[in-house]
């Protein structure tokens, strides 16, 4: 039967898989999400006004948020690509380690763009290794991932020992066994004209958002601060990474290739009966997944810092995987999750003093939840919300300063809470992580 079906007919299934034309960025309940995001923003502004902690919505916080969000976002997209094709990629961390090392090395040796390019290639090779072990040998995906993470750590330390040790050329230039020498040139940054005072042919345009932000008007200045963070002193690498979100959405939900990738993650046996060649598809998607992870690692070694250092990835690969999950395997969801982590981390970097203010913000958020639940006559969640809100309020009143080690735990705790509350509503690709051998399941 399968012999008569022409593979090019497969895309005609698209309307069945995804009705509506706007649904490919975010799930259909987008309006509700936008409403909640908007309300949360107003609550954040309110918190800013009450606590007088300008860091909450300053452009500096937002700029830092962008910088720390990008690696997590890219790791999340790496997870998205892998899981959409049906492979659990717990080795994002390892592929990122490849990216940091090769990116840092090439950026030191040749230049930042060459570094980024090599990081992407190195990550893709890591993705192909993972694909080879799981697709060719059908090894459990998590096992292969754990092994690859160990391998990446060991192999990159080995390379450092060969290149950066004291008696090697890299060592003489200022490197060490766990650190590369500093790079000479960074990736250039830009300001957007008119919005953040960028230059057009030598003429300096007005910095409109900066002017608005300085006045500390309720909501207006806050919005300006957040927006200015996105257009002021932006690295080209960040801009490219942000563009990858709509690109991923478009490729996965609007192209023939993307449909096949998703069908391989939902039901590879059915896809194969329709003439989709699942095995090469999985290699391709894993190469893309690895490339994203490598880019993420390269960003850490070239943009976030100007040298490679062992341990630079700092579990961001795992956080990225978590954003894949609570972004509900959607590009915009991943962006949202990564921003949440990035915001927590950025606030920690820019103004740790404003962290306790988040307790007040949390109290407001709980109040919102309580109101929403009361409207729907759900008593138990509402009571839970009141209790949580009360605890947070007590926290805001009593805690002046969050201990520094605990602030580091924030993203992980947030992940667990989100997963515990939302995991019943998430829908993973049906076949992600399951064993599959081409030709044997039908």
């Amino acid at each position: 039967m399968s012999a008569t079906i022409n593979p090019s007919e497969a895309p005609t299934l698209a309307p069945i898989a995804e009705p509506g034309w706007k649904t490919f960025l975010i799930k259909p309940s987008a309006k509700r999400s936008m409403f909640i995001a908007g309300t949360l923003f107003v609550l954040l502004c309110l918190t800013r006004v009450i606590t007088d902690g300008t860091d909450l919505t300053s452009s500096a916080t937002m700029g830092t948020t962008l910088r720390v969000t990008i690696p997590i976002l890219l790791a999340g997209l790496a997870g998205l690509w892998a899981e959409r094709v049906g492979i659990v990629n717990i080795a994002i961390e390892g592929m990122m380690i490849f990216g940091t090392w090769f990116g840092g090395w090439a950026a030191w040796k040749y230049g930042p763009w060459q570094g980024l390019a090599l990081a992407v290639v190195a990550g893709a090779v890591g993705g192909l290794i993972h694909a080879f072990v799981v697709v060719r040998f059908n090894v459990n995906h998590v096992l292969s991932g754990v092994a690859l993470n160990l391998f990446a750590f060991g192999a990159m330390r080995y390379l450092s020992e060969l290149v950066y040790a004291k008696d090697q050329p890299g060592g003489k230039a200022g490197g060490g066994i766990s650190k590369s020498p500093q790079q000479k040139y960074p990736i250039p940054v830009f300001n957007v004209p008119f919005l953040a005072g960028g230059e057009i042919g030598g003429w300096k345009s007005p910095d409109m958002l900066g002017w608005l932000e300085k006045h500390h008007w309720f909501i207006v200045s806050d919005a300006a601060g957040l927006a200015r963070g996105l257009v002021y002193q932006v690295s080209w690498a960040s801009a490219i990474a942000l563009m990858l979100v709509p690109l991923t959405a478009w490729v996965l939900w609007r192209t023939r290739f993307g449909l096949r990738v998703r069908s391989s993650g939902e039901d590879p046996a059915a896809a194969e009966t329709l003439g989709v060649r699942v095995t090469p598809l999985r290699y391709a998607a894993m190469a893309i997944s690895g490339a994203f992870a490598g880019f993420s690692g390269g960003f850490l070694a070239i943009v976030s810092a100007n040298y490679y250092q062992q341990g630079q990835t700092a579990s961001r690969g795992y956080i990225g995987l978590a954003t894949t999950i609570f972004g509900n395997w959607r590009p915009l969801g991943v962006l949202g999750g990564a921003t949440l982590f990035g915001f927590a981390e950025a606030l920690n970097l820019v103004g740790p003093a404003s962290l306790p203010n988040l307790f007040l913000f949390g109290t407001f958020a709980c109040l919102l939840v309580v109101v929403l639940q009361m409207v729907q006559h759900k008593i138990v969640p509402a009571i839970n919300g009141i209790i949580a809100g009360a605890i947070l309020l007590v926290g805001y009143i009593t805690i002046d300063k969050v201990p520094e080690p605990l602030t580091k735990a924030t993203p992980y705790v947030v992940t667990l809470i989100v997963l515990a509350t939302a995991s019943q509503r998430l829908r993973p690709p049906a076949h992600a992580g399951m064993p599959y051998r081409s030709g044997e399941n039908h």
Binding site: E83, V88, I90, V133, F137, N138, V139, N140, H141, V142, L143, S144, V146, A147, L148, N149, L150, F151, F153, G154, A155, R157, Y158, L159, S160, E161, L162, S315, Y318, L321, A322, T324, I325, P403, P405, L406, K408, A409, Y412, V413, T415, L416, L419, A420, T421, S423, Q424, L426, R427, P428, P429, H431, A432, G433, M434, P435, E440, N441
Partner: protein, 403 residues
């Protein structure tokens, strides 16, 4: 062919959130189930084959990077087989045995406990803090400290068990997050409350009284020319062996162990026999966490006698490697832990001989990958051969029998 069953398990327990770990675990089953129809000989031979392949791959890496693999391997063999290094291997194997048993208990119930790392750190920290606050007679004190460590480890893994059973959160993600949270919580408690300034250079928690120390079994010293090497083996090695024995008795020989393995192998079938998978998940996770709590005890009770920044590190992931290498079998775990200890112990001699010591890390990772791949290939071959023989016996064409 396991897929429909596993999918229905997911639906039945409402655990539809995960990264696919649950669904993939029908596969874990094939890896870890005790009665996979393979003879012990094939298992050992395939593990050895995997190690040889790994040595070849690592040798190729050495060769490509301009190092002599023969030099490196002969140095490892030469340095590693001295009596001092063998004792050091045993000492290094001790925590790995415990970590591997903790991981293996999880595997038996189809759980992937990546959280051993966080569980033993929590165990070490609380054991150090609580153990230093009380005073007991010698044997009782050690027992008390061990109990505290086990309870702390079990409590930490219990969070993951609760999230999995009640909230449907995949344990792989939950334990990864809990590892990171454990580090932060410990750092916070240590820097804020439990620092004991004995001297400015040596920041640790308050040291345990000597009644809570584990005795040294023996110290071995060897003189080669001007340098003296020595290695000690603490009595915790015996405790580790005892834990392995208990693991074997409980998981392989008791009714409870049978129920555990049955539930891990096929939760739906086990439920028809009255075995609640949720309960088994909680019990297995708590047991795994309790054993994980012991992992840091050789360090606490044998070496440092206090918690400090020089805490042990990396036993969780290496424990996974050892459990897989030993195929979750008690004897296999001991052998694999010894191999890992051996490789760790030759790292320093390699450095002294101006050979890149990190090749040991690379070699360990490659061994892990080749072992899981070879297990898989050999397992399929054996299954195919069994099917072929059955088919031949039934005089049916091979193609009609699904593998």
């Amino acid at each position: 062919m396991n897929i429909p069953i596993e999918t229905s398990v997911n639906q039945a327990t409402g655990a539809s959130n995960d990264v696919g770990g649950d669904s993939s675990q029908s596969f874990l089953n094939r890896l870890v189930r005790p009665d996979s129809g393979q003879s012990v000989l094939i298992t050992i031979a395939s593990s050895l084959l995997a190690i040889v392949i790994a040595l070849l791959i690592a040798g190729a890496i050495l060769l490509i990077t301009g190092k002599n693999p023969i030099d490196a391997y002969s140095k490892m063999l030469h340095a590693g087989t001295t009596s001092v290094k063998l004792v050091e291997s045993m000492q290094r194997a001790t925590p790995l045995i415990l970590a591997a048993v903790a991981v293996a208990i999880g595997f038996k119930m189809n759980l992937f406990n990546i959280g051993v790392e966080g569980q033993y750190l929590i165990g070490v920290f609380f054991a150090a803090v609580v153990g230093a606050k009380v005073s007991f007679p010698p044997v009782l004190h050690v027992t008390f400290v061990l109990l505290v460590a086990m309870v702390a480890g079990a409590a930490w893994s219990g969070i993951a068990a609760y999230l999995k059973v009640k909230k449907g959160v995949n344990e792989v993600i939950a334990t990864i997050m809990l590892n990171a949270i454990a580090l932060s919580v410990i750092d916070w408690l240590f820097t804020s409350y439990f620092r004991y300034e004995s001297s400015s250079l040596d920041v640790k928690t308050k040291p345990l009284p000597s009644s809570a120390w584990m005795p040294v079994l023996f110290t071995i010293t060897r003189k080669t020319g001007k340098t003296t090497q020595n290695a000690t083996l603490t009595s915790f090695f015996l405790v580790a062996l005892l834990v392995v024995l208990l693991f074997w008795l409980v998981v392989y020989k008791s009714t409870f162990g049978f129920r555990l393995r049955a539930s891990g192998y096929n939760a739906v079938a086990a439920r028809t026999a009255g075995i609640s998978s949720g309960r088994m998940i909680v019990v297995a996770m708590l047991m795994s966490g309790a054993i994980a709590g012991l992992v840091g005890m050789p360090y606490l009770l044998g070496e440092s006698h206090a918690y400090g920044p020089s805490r042990p590190d990396g036993y969780g992931f290496n424990g996974i490697a050892v459990a897989l290498l030993g195929r979750n079998h008690p004897a296999g775990i001991i052998a694999a832990a010894f191999l890992w200890g051996f490789l760790d112990s030759v790292s320093a001699p390699l450095q002294i001989a101006h050979l890149p010591q990190s090749i040991v890390l690379v070699l360990k990772a490659i061994i892990l990958i080749t072992v899981v791949v070879v297990n898989e290939v050999v397992g399929r071959r054996v299954a195919k051969r069994t099917a072929d023989r059955t088919a031949a016996a039934l005089a049916l064409p091979t193609a009609a029998v699904a593998v």
